[in-house]
Symmetry: C2
Subunit: 146 residues, 2 copies
DNA sequence: GGCATATAGTTGTTTGTGCAACTATTCAAA
DNA sequence: TTTGAATAGTTGCACAAACAACTATATGCC
C-alpha cells in the first residue's frame, strides 16, 4: 500500500522544508544579533570540526550532505575569516586536513548555546515524545533517500 | 522546563534540515530525468499558482515563505521559461498579478505525480500515525518561529 | 490639494548549491 | 614499471536566498 497520505498543502511543506528553514533563519538572526559574523552553513562545518578536527574535505562532504565544490567554497570562506586552516596530509598529498583556529574554538560555546535556545523556542509546547517520533521519522526519510 | 532533548548529532540534523534537503534533491532529479526543465523553487511557485492564479507577488511571498527579491527573480526566471506572465493590476498599478501559461498548466499533472512518488519513497516503511505526528510537530515548529 | 507614510516590486551585493569539467595524486593490474 | 581507473580537490556556470537601498504607486491626514 502506498503511503499516500499527503493532502496538498502538507505535501508542499514537507518538500520545501518550511520548518527547518524557519529554524535556520531564526538561528542566523541570533548569530547576527550576537555579533557573530558567520553563516549557518559555515557554522554547520564548524559543528563537525568541533567534534573532530583534522578531517578531510571529503569527510566534511559526507558529514554535512554537501558536494565537494560546496565544501571547497565554505572552507575558502572560513579560511578568509581565519576560522580554519587547510593542512596538506603527509601520507596522501591529495588530501587537505582541516584544522580549527583558536578563534573558532572560542565560538563553540556561544553558538551552541544559541542553537539550543533556538530549538527550545521551536519546540516550545511540543511534548517530548512527539519530538522523539518526529526525529525518528526524519531520520528514516533521510536514510531512505540519501 | 526547557525542551532540551537534543543530543549533538540530532540537533544538527534538525537545524540543517537534512531530510527536506534529501527530499528536494530527489524530486529535482526526477524532474531532470523526466526532461522537465524547472527547479524545485520554481515548482514551488507554480504549486501555489495551480491552486490559485492571478495572485500578486506579495501573496506568493507569504505563501512560499520567501522575501520579495526572491520572488521577483523566481518570477523573472519563470517568465523566461514562458511558464508565467506578469499582468499589471487594473485597480492598483503597484501590483503584478501572476498568471500561468498553457505550458505551465500542462506541467501540473506530471510534476505532482513525481512529488507524490518522491514522498512515497521517503516515507516507505514509516507508519502512517508517525507521519501524522511528524507533520504536526513540523507545523508547530513553523508556527512558533515564523 | 499636498505631503508623509506605507506598500509592491526591483536591483546590487554577498553567500551558498548543484552540476560538469578539470588537475593532481594514488592505486592496482597487466 | 607503466598505464588506466579511482579519488581529492578546484573552477566555471546557472540558479537561489538574504539584506539593503532603491523606484513607483497608493493612502491617509492636515
Amino acid at each position: 500500500m502506498p503511503n499516500n497520505q499527503f493532502k496538498r498543502g502538507e505535501l508542499y511543506s514537507f518538500i520545501t522544508g518550511k520548518a527547518s528553514t524557519a529554524i535556520a533563519r531564526r538561528l542566523q538572526k541570533k548569530f547576527n544579533t550576537a555579533g557573530l559574523n558567520i553563516t549557518i552553513e559555515q557554522w554547520s562545518l564548524l559543528y563537525h570540526l568541533w567534534k573532530q578536527e583534522g578531517i578531510s574535505q571529503q569527510e566534511l562532504c559526507n558529514a554535512t550532505f554537501r558536494d565537494k565544490p560546496s565544501i571547497t567554497r565554505l572552507v575558502d570562506n572560513l579560511e578568509k575569516l581565519n576560522l580554519v586552516k587547510r593542512v596538506a596530509s603527509e601520507s596522501d598529498r591529495r588530501i587537505n586536513l582541516i584544522y580549527l583556529t583558536k578563534q573558532a574554538q572560542k565560538l563553540q560555546e556561544d553558538t551552541m548555546a544559541l542553537a539550543e535556545e533556538t530549538l527550545n523556542e521551536a519546540l516550545e509546547t511540543v511534548p517530548a515524545d512527539k519530538v522523539d517520533i518526529c526525529k525518528e521519522v526524519l531520520q528514516i526519510v533521510y536514510d531512505n533517500l540519501k
